[in-house]
Point group: C2
Chain length 489, copies 2
Amino acid sequence: MVMGNEVPNKLEWRINVPDGTSETLQPESGLVYRIWMGLRGLLGEFILKIWKFLEKARNIAVAEPKKVIHCLKVGVALSIVSLFYYMRPLYEGVGGNAMWAIMTVVVVFENTPGATLYKCINRAIGTFLAGSLGVGVHWVASHSGHQLEPIILGISVFVLASAATFSRFVPSVKARFDYGVVIFILTFSLVSVSGYRVDDLIDIAHQRLSTIAIGASLCILISMLFYPIWAGEELHNLIHRNLEKLADALDGCVAGYFTDSSAGDSCKKMEGYKSVLNSKAAEDSMAGFARWEPAHGRFNFRHPWKQYLKVGASLRSCAYCIETLNGCINSEIQAPEHLKRHLSDVCITLSSHASRILKELAIAVKTMRKSSKIDFSIGEMQYAVQELQNALESLPSHPFAMPSSTSGGDAKTESIRKTATPSVMEILPLATLVSMLTETAARIEEIAEEVNELARLADFKPPASKKANQSQPSNKVDETNEEGTKGLG
Amino acid sequence: MVMGNEVPNKLEWRINVPDGTSETLQPESGLVYRIWMGLRGLLGEFILKIWKFLEKARNIAVAEPKKVIHCLKVGVALSIVSLFYYMRPLYEGVGGNAMWAIMTVVVVFENTPGATLYKCINRAIGTFLAGSLGVGVHWVASHSGHQLEPIILGISVFVLASAATFSRFVPSVKARFDYGVVIFILTFSLVSVSGYRVDDLIDIAHQRLSTIAIGASLCILISMLFYPIWAGEELHNLIHRNLEKLADALDGCVAGYFTDSSAGDSCKKMEGYKSVLNSKAAEDSMAGFARWEPAHGRFNFRHPWKQYLKVGASLRSCAYCIETLNGCINSEIQAPEHLKRHLSDVCITLSSHASRILKELAIAVKTMRKSSKIDFSIGEMQYAVQELQNALESLPSHPFAMPSSTSGGDAKTESIRKTATPSVMEILPLATLVSMLTETAARIEEIAEEVNELARLADFKPPASKKANQSQPSNKVDETNEEGTKGLG
């Protein structure tokens, strides 16, 4: 910025920096100066980038302190194993076996004990199988003459590596033994090609296995004993958080449509369901790791993790429905206000019943305790669906004649208005809303079924019985004193 | 099965095997026999399992021969590198550097050149950075006395390992440098803890880097030169296949609703869209690897792979809509036949326009050539949406009053029907269908926009101009000779 208040003798560029200082730019300083300035600019940009990166990292750390703990655990494990081998150089430096312990820790230590165990067990099995096979092939090759030896070795490596690589494409192998197969290929190639005699090999194998065992057991111990982040528990939490997110989204969506006021607040809540849409990959991997975890907390060794995947799938199916519902009610065609008012209460009642069911299911999953009210709530929701359909059928034939009970089309007074009965296009958005809510309710029932199945398989505790078990859901809801349905009766 | 035709002297169990032989079960043969039978049963089961596994593998191989080729490539690369080091034992066996070449090949060789390059470059950068840093720390530690040395080493390993592990949680690092960070941690620990002098270390580093370079370049060459499976091309194919799947699903869904006949055939087609729902993870990883690939085939180095992700997202959003549509029209409440007939033609016209657009987009992406008709087709689709809404508005007020010329429901004889005007509940499924189709059409327009953006960014070829460019989509469709819309006009 050119400074105007102090008239300079010659043309001069000055930069005003926000902190009050100002700096004169000297045009005469030539190439070196310009390079220096360019470098300084680059450096500034670089520092800014690093600064932003650190800020992002800090946000992650604040949001999920578990991740920081995991990092510290990795640091501790690695320091221990490094120093152990540094202090006791029984083996010969990096080239020797110490390397294998360090490598094991680096490669095997994962975020969750399940993943760590999966890798350790896979590594052990893969190394053992490949080692034995490699020693066998090595023995055969070394006893079949100098000419045949490389041919046998080459062919065996080619065949086994190809076959093992292919097996990684088979889904069942991929899910459980992917890492083991990689280790198998690695170990087999190393052992069969090595120039050692079989006696030496067995000695080396013994040393190496014991080193790997030390590294692996250190990893397992540290990952399980200090602030473990169990994959199973993460999956469990993910599922009940997703249930809550759906409940919020459904509430926000319907309330937002009918009130138009709570835009800011409900929008944020509603965004939650979007993460449900894409949660499949995370659920699959967590369920895969959870299978390897020992009993911990409230989960037994054979906890039905697969059922969580089914619950997850039904949640996603419901999320698709809410996504579409959201799209439809934000579309151009809008229903006239008086029709919206007519359905407002029933819709909100239905959505609140539906989201209450989701919340109850979330609590049931969270506490691992069967819900006493769930059947009853589903009955209420079915009743609300029926009410909603009735309300739609009894849509007012004109804006003011808000009739008491029966279904539409009496239309006796109005003759001046051009739309005597609401046109189909006016009903369209509401009809869609009703259909989608009905469909959502149906999918919520599916979720409830899957959660019930989960409760059965995982032996959820019986409900805390503060009142007698209401076992007749049925349609007799209007006899009860639920204010939601009473308002409609 | 007890044989009835030859009366036995004593009670005897016989098994008839389908190939005609029969076998007498001898009850007296005791424990050994039973164990033997049990073992044989287990063995049979085991063989059956293996057989099934092989069958599954065969199916995969037949369905995707590319995977088999990849496996053979891994086998070849591994055999070459193994034999190379076996034939020229310049280094000292397995413990030495040959190991690093084999390990590099096993760990780095991936399905696509992009993934292989990603791992190679990451490995190189990670090794180099960590190596230099490790040598530095090692030098400092070894010059600071016997007491301080382990402390400095331990702290530096702890700090760097923790920080590096944490950086893997930052999304931008995770996407590009995840593997490099692992290698960084590994190399740094190995180098800094090693008991070698700095001179030795540099020597070792030189040898090791050259070995790794040989392994890595072998992998890159083999994966790029022989039947490469480019990640970018896979992503490209996935996107246009998904476009086709959505087109089929939409067609099948609407046609299935109105005709009820093509259940078997259309069901299979419709299942396709389900894979679109969960394609996010695959798309993300392929786009991540595609970034590393050099120019190949029709794709430049800076091909806009990120735009493919946006197209994929819009495809998924449309797939959610179709999923819900599918759920809604399969629900219990069904519209009466005469109303369905009234809307049948317009709905099918709209869905065929919509699916034609999807197919055109698929062809445009596939051939990387802008479509000349796409704007025109979108105009047609918008017109069809309008027609559909008109048709809904003009729903017959009673079953027989079917105006002049157009589609179905002539049925003029029956006059005793109880429903004069269709009730809202009867319209409900159709209204939903109309809304959902409208919403689907809107989302298809979004897809078209994203594909247009892709065409712009990726410099798609101009359309093959066999006729003049139709640049007025507008609503003048009825002037054209498209048979689809003419039937409605």
